[in-house]
């Protein structure tokens, strides 16, 4: 395993190593590979002001659970566990029971996530304006929307590459 491969999340989640043809195909678009990884690192940068890292990982966990993407949901769950997030909170989010949360800010963040993942056309002006009402600044709203949208992208790249890799292995 090369160093570069260990640090690329999608290669790791799909199980791509340089000996696989699917790896070579993917890395013909290295600009996309690099920008995808940097997007993720930016969105989950622990020093990014605004939404806490735990809030961002919970958003990603809910997005992947609802899509669903089993592989990516497990990834974000593991990152939350590594961060030391309360197990009960992780379970509440991953079972979709976020309406029961007492933290109104987190509840509104996850409600917006739910709408954007399951039925994006329903996330209207009122859904967006609920976020500033729950105390989010405009840059925090931008972070949240980009995060949900990025995870929607990531799960599809992972799913497509997995299918391509499986076909290669069947040959």
């Amino acid at each position: 395993m090369t160093n570069a491969q260990q640090t690329d999340t999608i290669d790791r989640l799909v199980g791509l190593s340089p000996t696989l043809n699917t790896y070579s195909v993917r890395h013909q678009r290295d600009k996309v590979v690099a920008a995808t990884q940097k997007s993720e690192e930016g969105l989950f940068d622990p020093t990014l002001p605004g939404l806490t890292l735990a809030e961002r990982l919970l958003v990603a966990l809910l997005a992947c659970t609802l899509t669903p993407s089993v592989t990516c949901a497990a990834e974000y769950r593991n990152r939350l566990l590594a961060l030391g997030t309360d197990h009960a909170l992780i379970d509440t989010v991953s079972t979709g029971a976020f309406n029961q949360l007492t933290d109104a800010r987190l509840r509104s963040i996850l409600t917006f996530t739910h709408t954007l993942i399951t039925d994006p056309v329903k996330a209207d002006k009122a859904a967006l304006q609920a976020l500033p009402k729950a105390g989010l600044s405009t840059p925090e709203v931008v972070t949240l929307a980009q995060l949900i949208a990025f995870v929607s992208y990531q799960v599809r790249v992972v799913a497509g590459l997995k299918a391509m890799k499986l076909l290669e292995q069947q040959a």
């Binding site: 678009r29 949208a149 992208y153």
Partner: protein, 193 residues
């Protein structure tokens, strides 16, 4: 100019877009924000969309690098077909603004509108050729249920002649519109002429 298409709330007309929350004003933008706007899109400084997203410049920067590399990189899948994938995803997600932009790009590149008309009417049966039908079907599958995409779905694309690089380009186009639609749909609204 092309003929106007208006089907089921979707159109190829040129639409505007306005943000629902406050955008960054160029007068108060940082040097970093200006630089990111300039490398994102030729019209980013007069676009509500970019002026809103530039509240988080580094995230916008990487999104723009990914988007431009996916949609415009040379080689691989013909650009018209990437635009077809983008139009299908936007139609499925109900993003009227994105659908209008990418319907126009498809027409500019392919010099025809048949695929767009079919996608607007019913994406599930759309595709004037066997190859385009396969592209549309894969776009629907990866949008609607990504975890259910299987080796058979990849094989179906190979069967109509797509190379592996073309298949990768299609996956990226579909995936980047899962991203783009969720910004355009949820942060503001289209403005009709």
């Amino acid at each position: 100019m092309s003929d106007l298409i208006e089907i089921k709330g979707f159109t190829n007309a040129t639409l505007g877009w306005k943000a629902w929350l406050d955008v960054v004003s160029l007068d108060s933008a940082t040097a970093e924000q200006i630089a990111v706007l300039e490398e994102s899109h030729p019209k980013a400084k007069v676009s509500d969309y970019y002026l809103f997203l530039v509240h988080q410049p580094e995230v916008l920067k990487q999104r723009s690098v990914a988007f431009n590399a996916i949609m415009y990189a040379p080689g691989g899948m013909p650009r018209a077909e990437r635009e077809l994938g983008a139009t299908v995803v936007s139609r499925l997600n109900g993003c009227v603004y994105c659908a209008s932009v990418h319907a126009q790009r498809f027409e500019q590149l392919a010099k025809r509108t048949d695929a767009v008309i079919e996608v607007f009417n019913d994406p599930h049966t759309a595709g004037p050729s066997e190859r385009e039908r396969a592209i549309v079907q894969f776009s629907i599958a990866l949008t609607s249920a990504p975890d259910a995409v299987s080796p058979a779905d990849i094989q179906a694309l190979k069967d109509v002649g797509l190379t592996e690089l073309e298949i990768l380009d299609l996956m990226h186009s579909v995936a980047i519109f899962a991203w783009a639609n969720r910004l355009m749909l949820n942060l503001g609204e289209p403005v009709f002429p």
